[in-house]
Symmetry: C3
Subunit: 420 residues, 3 copies
């Protein structure tokens, strides 16, 4: 049983190294690449520390939250380099520089968002397969949106956030576990796991202006994207605190909302981040995103689980899905109101709408197909009882299970079968 993951991972790494050997070259043609490098590092921190620690909020699933996040991202960035590169080959070669490293990191974000939807319910083997499929489909959809439809999506509200969220929701729908209908005892946080998650929240929040501006085509657009994202997030945060208190019967703040909904402003302003929406426009978008996200967590997530069989562990629908759609809609409105050009292309509401529609459709279909593949029996899912529990996949220090009954053979055996 233990060989399944190891062999798959080693095999994939060998394949990737061979493909890199055939196709990948350094690219030293960009001027002043060192100016892009700090922005790359900000994005890099978001992917590994931001997403990673955000997913440590569960009391017994922190090792997987931050650890499997690292595995997915490290694997996905290599695969993403190839998948994105194949669309832009020159003389049969993929040329890489700092910008393509940013894009490689971006491509992993889709898989990490989907990981949030299925968190605690999938094995590392399943996540490797999901990453291969999702990054591949993402690269195709991104090519469609950017190069064929020639829509704008500088902060990737549609192509990363909405895509990753609806892909993940479709996967979790297919992998529906009726046995988790009643809340699993491990599906909750502790005081310190919530503080660990705040590390993730803050690094995402702080570096989001870099995320939304990293691939802007000109310096002025980049600064515009930085300013818009900064103020959108600030407004979103104030509104999230207000709404969090408002929707609670006793007026108390909820950590899950502060950890997640405060970030919705960064997602929602993404597509329009480098357009001239003015700072107050960015703040308006951020405020609405905060409201939508809080209401989503409070009312919609329970409904999705009970009525639509969509068990969304981290609530990615509220952080990435709805705000991602908002970003697309905002871009339709903005391009309808004012003419904007990007790289010689006149942006139109029709193309923005087409981009949004394609993205959602491809994400849902791709996610459903992926979910079907992940359900194949030989991949060996963990039992419901073993969900949200690091000890299925990790050596966990003893003293954290103070009252554990000495394990009997049957239990060991069933766990053993469940591994990977």
């Amino acid at each position: 049983m233990r060989f399944k993951f190891s062999i798959l991972a080693l095999l994939l790494e060998v394949v990737i190294i061979v493909l890199f050997g055939i196709f990948v070259e350094y690219d030293h043609r960009r001027k002043n690449p060192e100016i892009l490098y700090p922005v790359f590092q900000d994005v890099h921190v978001m992917i590994f520390v931001g997403f990673g620690f955000l997913m440590t909020f569960l009391k017994k699933y922190g090792f997987s939250g931050v650890g499997i996040n690292m595995l997915i991202a490290a694997f996905g960035l290599q695969w993403g380099t190839l998948m994105q590169g194949f669309w832009h080959m020159e003389e049969g070669k993929i040329h890489i520089d700092v910008k393509s490293m940013i894009n490689a990191d971006f491509s992993t974000a889709t898989a990490l968002i989907s990981f949030g939807a299925v968190l605690g319910k999938t094995s590392p083997v399943q996540m490797l397969i999901l990453t291969i499929l999702e990054v591949t489909i993402f690269a195709c959809n991104e090519h469609l949106v950017t190069n064929i439809l020639q829509a704008t999506d500088v902060g990737a509200s549609m192509t990363i956030h909405a895509f990753g969220a609806y892909f993940g929701l479709a996967v979790t729908l297919i992998l529906y576990r009726p046995g988790l209908k009643n809340k699993h005892e491990n599906e909750e946080s502790t005081y310190h796991s919530d503080l660990f998650a705040m590390i993730g929240t803050l690094f995402l929040w702080l570096f989001w202006p870099s995320f939304n501006s990293a691939i802007a085509s000109e310096q002025n657009h980049q600064i515009t994207a930085i300013i818009n994202t900064y103020y959108s997030l600030a407004a979103c945060t104030v509104v999230t605190f207000a709404l969090s208190s408002l929707v609670d019967q006793r007026g108390k703040f909820s950590m899950v909302l502060i950890q997640n909904a405060t970030l919705a402003g960064g997602v929602a302003v993404g597509t329009c981040a480098d357009l001239l929406i003015k700072p107050f426009g960015a703040m308006f978008i951020g405020s609405i995103a905060g409201i939508v996200s809080v209401l989503g967590f409070h009312f919609l997530t329970p409904l999705l689980a009970s009525k639509l069989c969509i068990q969304d562990t981290c609530g990615v629908h509220n952080l990435h899905g709805l705000p991602g759609i908002m970003g697309g809609i905002a871009s339709i409105i903005v391009t309808a109101i004012q003419g904007e050009e990007r790289q010689g292309v006149h942006l139109t509401p029709a193309m923005q709408a087409a981009a949004l529609g394609c993205t959602l459709g491809i994400a849902l279909v791709g996610g459903a197909l992926t979910g079907g593949i992940l359900k194949l029996p030989f991949l060996g899912q963990a039992s419901d009882q073993n969900c949200f529990d690091d000890s299925v996949y990790w050596e966990v220090p003893e003293e954290e299970k103070p009252h554990e009954i000495p394990s009997n053979n049957y239990d060991e055996h069933s766990r053993f079968q469940a591994i990977m």
Copy 2:
């Protein structure tokens, strides 16, 4: 009761968005703004991760430490943009770029320092009001010091650190709680809360050279400020470890000193950071700051609490107050010894002294007035018993209160009244 905070926060956000709509424009005139952006990100991390995690040291107040810090900073940076911008309008417009984002972050630091003084004893509503008032008064004092007195304060030892500390101390004096004369049972750390606080300490410590150099007028001055701050902090840290062991009866290090006094060197060298004080001068200032700060924590803070009714939760007097004054005094001495010019203005000890005096006076008076306003009964302070306890304002995971007696109605009721 729960509506008080929500409505105030939403109302303020609406007002701010309207004011942004009227006054705020992008500014794309700066050359090479992308060079300032990494420095902005360092400052940004200091404000949200640095200050935020530094205040998670209390065993039951970590959510508020990092969460309310985030609220204050996100709100304050919007308010600060307006308050600082009003002093520099061109054709009725406030122009924003990366540098004004740095200044907006700076302005929130004053409120966060004051938050450290009152930590655990104020409600979120009170903190919003404090932030409005303090950021407003800060912007006026900064204008006075920089533009009217034309004093230098590149690292803001006076205008941010001393100002924030003495403002906060005046607030906490007015809000004096005799019931907390004997140490509250929650006013202590745990092993892991101390480690969380070290995250804050280290990110403040590491990025302080960026803080002290961010608004330097020329590149040479910027590099000088970076070098001086780097060595000042290093010297301060060695001295703090030495003193921490020395003042303890059994020679043991104290986490509260390592978390705080190691940073005093960054504060104290601030005002003179871009002056030609030579590296050894910076290290001398840092060393003295470490000594002053450790002695302040060890001897002065208990005295302030018992004799002067000043309950300074985080000891901001020792980290920001005394070292801030030291920074001002150092600048008086340096400008007396050697002539320095900044932006065509000859710096004089008289103006540096005037800047220090004005700052302290305005901070103390402003803080006292603010404290008076925060004391208004309808703002509903928490009872002494509910101080330093997240569960008054936050949903807190159950298992962290293992021995809690099932709550009776009376207790619930009194807590409910205390909220916000």
Copy 3:
């Protein structure tokens, strides 16, 4: 007893300030120093947050892990400035700028790696002495490798990683404690201490491209080093997960491997990072490093402890030692296959081999001598029983020792003797 550390630290700081006063000047001759500054900050975060939190994995030694790391680094960077500067004086002066700050941070890394080998078994006084000696010897070896042998080692696989590891292993051999042959009860992690350590792992992992490229001589080499390190680490991570599962009987991942072996790819690619090894070459090196590191942790570390009396707490041999040697060997192979020039010098396998040999020899001899000095009785080592326990050197919050028996006088007394 408590005065020993304090007086030594204060004395050293005074000596350093005096030496700085005599020798150290600002250097404002570099063009565009602000472009190097973000890279410096990345390295700075690695040294203090990366190494610091990586060493918080022990359940009762987190304060020392992150705290003494900070002390060593803050002291070492001052000492390193002088030791490195003495080899490059101009007109009797050491000129410092952002690049020399990077080098000063680098020099502390050697002492921090050695700290990992002796973690839990040495006093702060011993660590100060180790830092003085190791940084001094490092600066000499670095001068020998770089300027006399004119070998290349851009990412310092040999001069920092292998040097620091074998120096530390020699120290821990001399300080061998037979009483720790059976695992000490404190020498293990907890669930949350392992998460704290992941903060360190991730910041090291993320900023390693900056470490390996920081001192590259040209911009193209710098970008090459960034790309190679990025892909080497990614490949190493996938392989480490695979191997971690493979070597475990039940196929489970081990936190100690994920925290450490994932980083081996950054070490091993260091020496060749700026050479044209192509991305797939970097990934190959990274993959082998992951395999070597995992096997080292799993098979070699227990052997070293039981057969060779080398008690390597953090397993620095597997993270820095073996991958460091790999880096040197890789550079011998690469320079043998293809001609490369750096700063006008033609690189030869002979010089690379000489550099590796010298480094290992000097590290082992220097470490053994240092170990002998640290063994001097008046330095007062902690007893075996007091190893891996913060409470010997730190005030530790009460509630973390729930079942502690009220201390009797004898116990207090023996602890007191052990301090510093």
